[in-house]
């Protein structure tokens, strides 16, 4: 018996008996932080979403499955559905806009030339810029009377205050912000395309666009798919641009879900309803993440 134990210890390469609680002590700081600021608030949010709360966020009246249910109230409200529609428009435009700029900039810098390192640095740079700082810069660019864009076009358009332009403006700012990460991932994907594929295409006499369309894009389709998902999840979380440029308006035209959570909780002090919105946002993002896992297993490649 004792001999057996000894042999086991030697085989395991560890002779000193391990202090059994030690591994958990190594994990303790991280688990405490996760517990207090992630797991607890996550369940707390679900809990709150079932209550009417007072102004300090205390759950007061249990309303789940009654006619005052927070979710039911949201599903019945036109403003909620407007916000969902705006969010999906915004997310879709940002995801594909970011992808398009990332793909273009990656293709443009695919072949090295004098100065291509500088160009690549410029394309990657937006990853470093804070969304708040960029929003303020764009506030100036889009300024109705003294801004760059109106100067160049000789107009006085109120880009962030006009129903017709507000959503487009925040989409443009967000695409600018997300272009850096799109460039980094897509150009990394391009570098991994085997050169032989291009060679055989060249032998077949395929022109540039033909090669891009039938060799490059299919070869990097897993990267593109992954990048679209990253863009979508990122776009769902956009806040600074909305807060600093449009405040959700005019009307509900830029009232994306995160903004409506903020308004519900911190302007109207309806924490229960805001919590319900948060849970819905979580479910949407989770479904998208699950779709990504599914596809990643299968691999998007033709």
């Amino acid at each position: 018996m004792a001999k057996n134990k000894e042999a086991k210890a030697i085989r395991g390469g560890i002779q000193k008996p391990q202090f059994w609680i030690e591994p958990y002590l190594f994990l303790l700081p991280s688990l405490l932080i996760f517990g207090m600021f992630l797991y607890y608030p996550f369940f707390r949010t679900i809990f709150l979403s079932m209550f009417l709360t007072n102004k300090t966020g205390h759950a007061k009246i249990f309303v789940a499955f009654t006619e005052k249910d927070n979710y039911l109230a949201l599903f019945k409200s036109a403003s909620f559905w407007a916000s969902v529609r705006v969010t999906f428009k915004f997310v879709f435009a940002v995801a594909f806009g970011g992808l398009l700029i990332g793909l273009t900039s990656s293709l443009l810098t695919e072949k090295k030339y004098a100065g291509s390192n500088f160009t690549a640095a410029v394309y990657a740079m937006p990853i470093a810029i804070a969304s708040a700082a960029a929003s303020m810069a764009f506030k100036m660019v889009l300024h109705p009377t003294n801004g760059l864009l109106n100067n160049i076009m000789g107009t006085q358009i109120n880009f962030t205050g006009d129903m017709r332009y507000a959503l487009g403006s925040v989409i443009a700012v967000t695409v600018w912000l997300t272009s850096g990460i799109n460039f980094i991932f897509i150009s990394a994907g391009l570098r991994n395309v085997p050169a032989e594929l291009y060679d055989s295409a060249a032998v077949d006499g395929a022109g540039y666009w033909r090669r891009v369309w039938s060799v490059t894009i299919p070869s990097i389709s897993p990267t593109l798919f992954f990048q679209i998902i990253i863009n979508i999840i990122g776009a769902f979380q956009s806040f600074s641009q909305i807060k600093l440029l449009t405040e959700g308006g005019p009307g509900d035209t830029t009232n994306v879900m995160v903004w409506s959570i903020y308004m519900d909780a911190f302007r109207n002090f309806r924490f229960g309803s805001a919590a319900a919105r948060s849970v819905i946002l979580f479910l949407i993002v989770m479904v998208i993440t699950v779709i990504q896992f599914r596809f990643e297993k299968r691999g998007v490649n033709y």
Partner: protein, 279 residues
């Protein structure tokens, strides 16, 4: 006249660069314009100049010296918070990653899954409950509120664990045979060997914390604890007329971000690429 190969290469080079100019301008112009406005005399801003006729740094002097804007304090706040969060994550993530890669214990896989699962929850989803926690604890308007919730991250643990897993198991076993404790092994062997991964984590976390907006906006009310990102956005509310001052503020907060981008480019991009799994 025949074109030599060298000439053709030069032409090709120039052609490729020219093709890139339009898109480069789209990325650069908002920032160049911001800088241009920040050094422009006010009357030129209102006469819609694009480039100043003379460069004035009065806006920067104003931003730093006028106590009304409280800018130096906000820069200090951002530095204190970002540095603490960065160092904190380096420590907590190293410890956790060490347990997940070198130690064997009950529930290891389950706990690792619990860590990874946190990546599924966007911060905006838990922000209300976290805000209420801060309110109940009386933590609003303090460094604690800005620092504690961010003292660990699944991305950091994952990044370091992947790196540790590349170490030879024999290294650990040899150290154990010599009677080296786990903590000493981590401190004197693993950490020095994992500098590239720690650098990537550090650059990424510092930048992300420096760039935070929503959480600091919610949990700070007084001028004493506002971070610089909130500060620049409030310059507009305080004084919508001083567009130049506002743009000087934007330039000031972008400089540290850009410095990290320029000087720690490789680390930052490595950190970003492992962080993007989270999205």
């Amino acid at each position: 006249m025949r074109i030599t190969t060298v000439q053709r290469r030069k032409l090709q080079n120039a052609g490729r660069f020219v093709l890139n100019i339009p898109l480069m301008l789209v990325i650069l112009i908002p920032l160049l314009y911001t800088f241009s406005i920040s050094v422009m005399p006010p009357d030129e801003i209102y006469n819609n100049h694009l480039i100043p006729t003379s460069v004035k740094f009065t806006n920067y002097v104003q931003a730093f010296t006028n106590p009304y804007y409280n800018f130096p304090r906000m820069i200090l706040n951002s530095f204190v918070v970002s540095t603490t969060v960065m160092l904190g994550q380096m420590i907590t993530c190293s410890l956790a990653a060490f347990a997940f890669s070198f130690l064997e214990f009950k529930g290891k896989n389950l706990l690792f899954l619990a860590v990874l699962a946190t990546m599924m929850v966007p911060g905006e989803v838990t922000i209300i409950a976290n805000y209420l926690t801060m309110m109940r604890w009386g933590w609003l308007d303090s460094y604690r509120a800005l620092i504690f919730p961010f003292l660990t991250s699944a991305m950091g643990i994952f990044l370091l664990r992947q790196y540790y897993l590349t170490f030879a198991k024999e290294l650990y076993e040899a150290a154990k045979l010599d009677g080296c404790s786990n903590l000493r092994f981590l401190g004197s062997i693993v950490v020095p060997l994992s500098r590239p991964a720690l650098g990537a984590l550090g650059a990424y976390v510092f930048l992300n914390t420096w760039n935070q907006y929503m959480w600091p906006l919610l949990v700070t009310n007084s001028r004493n604890y506002r971070t610089v990102q909130i500060g620049i956005s409030m310059l507009y509310d305080i004084d919508a007329v001083s567009l130049g001052l506002m743009m000087a503020g934007v330039v000031i907060v972008i400089v540290p971000s850009l410095s990290i981008f320029v000087f720690m480019n490789k680390q930052l991009i490595n950190g970003l690429m492992s962080g993007a799994v989270k999205g």
